[in-house]
Amino acid sequence: MYAYIVRRLLSALVVLLLITAVVFIVMHLLPGDPILLYLSQDTVTAFTAEEIVAARHEFGLDKPVIVQYLNWLSGVLHGDLGESIFRSTKVTEEIGNALPITLYLGMLAWVISHVIAIPAGVICAVKRGKWIDTILTILANIGITAPQFWVGILLIYVFGLYLNWLPIFGYTSPFDDFWLSIKKVIMPVFCLSLVPLSGCVRQTRSAMLEVVRQDYIRTAWSKGLAERNVILRHAIKNGIIPVVTLAGMAVPLIIGGQVLIETVFGIPGIGRLSVTALFSRDYAIVQGIVLVIAVFVVLVNLLVDIAYGWLDPRIHYD
């Protein structure tokens, strides 16, 4: 197992190197000059050709692309992800501020969605064709098809504007003001949970329906075991394997897919930062975010693979 993990981590290094190189080249191939954008972001203030040259030199963008990439790579090895052109701040600081907020919301959404979805999916499978299965399946279909930002705006108008129960926008750390923080995350976390929750309900239902038709489950029933024991002790562990795959895939989606929700609710997370950086061609921030998300995805995939071995003893990694 340890040898497998080491092998995976080594191959991950190659993957990360390739990802950063490709993103770096693509960013530089995109039309748009970060220095012109930086200097002309204030529509009213004019600038001169000399200022362009000075700024290009200041940010090292007058060097060949390969040299810029190698400089960046060397910085990464020293724990320095570079400096943002637009914000005059360290990229590590920018990511350090934004990523925990995104992770906090994303993890809450991920945990809540799976805590609700797995039992709901099991109930749907066990009560197949009954009213509860019908209702939950319809809700899951609505949840998976409703656009997140639209749901977010709907929630803002209902719970923020008309009922005045919840704050409309912004983020507060739970350590600054716990209750305000909870109030502020309810709507965004609900929106973020919708897709993984609905997807997981549907996946759990279909996986469990397949498992409960297996011979060993029929045998368990015929032995007279209680329904609770049959489902919880015999069916779930096998039924949950495809759900684990789905849950693993949902993690990077939740982390990287918060752009719209962060924009609608005014949350200063990694999604908003990455989109702003992309539009302003802020190379260092985009590179930094891509690297962090890539590391995250690689690690989550590794954890998912390890979980397979734990859930299914037939799977070996030696």
Binding site: D42, V44, S88, Y104, N164, F175
Partner: protein, 541 residues
């Protein structure tokens, strides 16, 4: 199994909460460079105002699409949104209400040497920075030397700065020009004054997000990408103001969210909102919508320098302007917020009448001019515009396309991603292509815009040919001291530029601001950008 699941869930939740705490370290209060006076002075009684006039107290919460990550060091200011800077920081002088004039702020008066080799500023006495240190000539010298050392072009002509006495400072210059004073008065430039003591004690990184100036509001709390809270400066040098206790600037990146927050009472206003949002708030008595016309405009540019381009022919350029029904487009397709314009120096009509004859919509004349030029039909023309314009102006561009088709110019609309559009606007259009561009204007200081945007030496309008005599007029204006004469020269430049159609001006591009109607006496008139000034603002309730 259940235990493991339970422990895992708790662990994930704890990790999430723990990580969220890493995101926002407890805000550290700005450390004043100099300690406050050791003996606390008795609190001054809150000034009372007449019942009908301004009232003290209250908090104003303003929305902003984004906040600058760096707003405390004037020579590092680059970002469009300067509100977080100009509430705590001040200038020596600011732009006056009449064209070409200035008002004293931290300088009470100033004079130009007879040989125009230096300016002397007589500074206001008894002014203190927010950190308690004195504002004086040394502080001005330090600030301007730092800006010059940072390479800001506004200080390129400054050779040295002499402290004459505690409250008199002399700025020596290598070459005077008529707009030199504007460098000290522009709120979008680097002449704002900060406390040298705070900067030197805490360093530039700290100072970038801690504006310690002399302004009516001082920084209370800041969280990047979230909010800036500015509180009233109780020791502000101008007696009796400000009235508002606190101004909060909160990031709301989405207009729909802003609308909901405004109506729910979570926000009191926002500046630079889109036309659709503004139009929805116009008839609501709870809000005031304010529109600024002079500062920005929309234009149609082309390549006059390339002989192969049909637009190198003056008749073809005239035909373009005659072909566009600006009046109807503004009235019907921009929610009535834009006004048609017939000028090259944006806002010049706000400063006076240049005596030009507007080329108003006349498709027949356009066709006739095109026939005379030998190009009765033009096809394969791309009309480039930034995709960010689509919401406010997309329909207007479609209308232009139809106007052009009616006179025989086949145009394909080409929305371009903002970064790519930005880059392309610094090079001439290709062939017969056209480009929608934003032009800067300034009715109070039209010559500043001529120098910055329209002169041959600038990087703007790279496809435009400057008319003969235009640069000579610029040189004359640069050497003229009297603002009225400078304005007169600008009128002459306008006649030349409009006659040669350096570009086709289309309409004003107003900046729209919305505030709750309880907010009184917000002033928009001083800035180069019509930002709201809250010095004298007060809340009715």
């Amino acid at each position: 199994m259940k235990k493991i699941l339970l422990i895992s869930l708790v662990f994930v939740l704890m990790c999430g909460i723990g990580l969220s705490s890493c995101a926002e370290p407890e805000p550290t209060a700005p450390e004043p460079a100099a300690p406050a006076p050791a003996t606390p002075e008795p609190a001054a009684p809150e000034p009372t105002a007449p019942e009908t006039g301004p009232k003290y107290g209250g908090v104003i919460k303003l929305g902003s699409m984004a906040l600058s990550a760096s707003f405390g060091v004037p020579w590092n200011l680059r970002h469009g949104d300067r509100t977080s800077s100009f509430l705590p920081l001040e200038l020596l002088v600011r732009r006056g209400q009449e064209p070409g004039t200035y008002e004293g702020r931290l300088a009470e008066s100033w004079e130009l040497a007879p040989d125009k080799s230096y300016y002397t500023f007589y500074l206001r006495q008894g002014v203190k920075f927010h950190d308690g240190t004195d504002f004086n000539a040394e502080a001005v010298k330090w600030n301007f030397e730092m800006a010059k050392a940072a390479g800001r072009p506004q200080f390129a002509n400054v050779t040295s700065i002499d402290v004459i006495d505690t409250h008199t400072v002399r700025i020596n210059i290598s070459q005077w020009n008529s707009e030199f004073m504007h460098n000290f008065a522009s709120d979008t430039d680097c002449a704002l004054i900060i406390s040298p003591a705070s900067y030197e004690k805490n360093g530039e990184e700290w100072a970038n997000t801690h504006p310690v100036g002399t302004g009516p509001y001082m920084l209370k709390e800041y969280k990047q990408d979230q909010y800036i809270y500015l509180e009233k400066n109780p020791d502000y040098w101008e007696e009796g103001i400000p009235y508002i206790d606190e101004i909060q600037i909160l990031v709301v990146p989405d207009m729909v969210t802003f609308m909901a927050a405004l109506k729910a009472g979570d926000l009191d206003g926002m500046w630079i909102i889109d036309f659709l949002t503004a139009s929805q708030l116009e008839d609501d008595d709870r809000f005031n919508v304010w529109v600024s016309f002079g500062n920005l405009g929309t234009s149609l540019s082309y390549n006059m320098k390339d002989p192969a381009s049909v637009w190198s022919d003056k008749k073809m350029r005239e035909a373009l302007e005659y072909a566009i029904d600006k009046e109807k487009i503004c009235r019907a397709l921009t929610y009535g917020y834009c006004e048609p314009t017939y000028e090259i120096i944006r806002g010049i009509h706000g400063a006076g009448d240049p005596g030009t004859v507007p080329r108003e919509y006349d498709p027949e004349k356009a066709k006739q001019l095109m026939a005379e030029a030998g190009h009765p039909q033009v096809s394969g023309v791309n009309l480039e515009f930034s995709i960010t314009d689509k919401n406010s102006y997309g329909d207007a561009y479609l209308a232009i396309q139809e106007n052009f088709a009616a006179v025989g110019i086949e145009v394909e609309l080409k929305p371009v991603e903002p970064a790519a559009f930005n880059e392309s606007s610094f090079r001439p259009t290709e062939g017969n292509d056209l480009r929608i561009e934003t032009v800067r204007g300034d009715p109070l200081f039209p010559f500043v815009r001529v120098m910055e945007d329209l002169s041959e030496d600038t990087i703007y309008f790279p496809g435009a040919v400057r008319p003969e005599g235009f640069e000579d007029l610029i040189d004359q204006a640069l050497g003229t001291e009297d603002p009225e004469q400078v304005l007169d020269l600008c009128m002459q430049m306008e006649r030349l530029a409009y006659g040669e159609i350096m570009y086709v001006s289309l309409w004003s591009r107003p900046i729209v601001t919305v505030m709750k109607s309880e907010i009184q006496d917000v002033d928009y008139s001083y800035g180069e950008v019509p930002y709201p000034y809250f010095e004298r603002a007060w809340l009715e309730k």
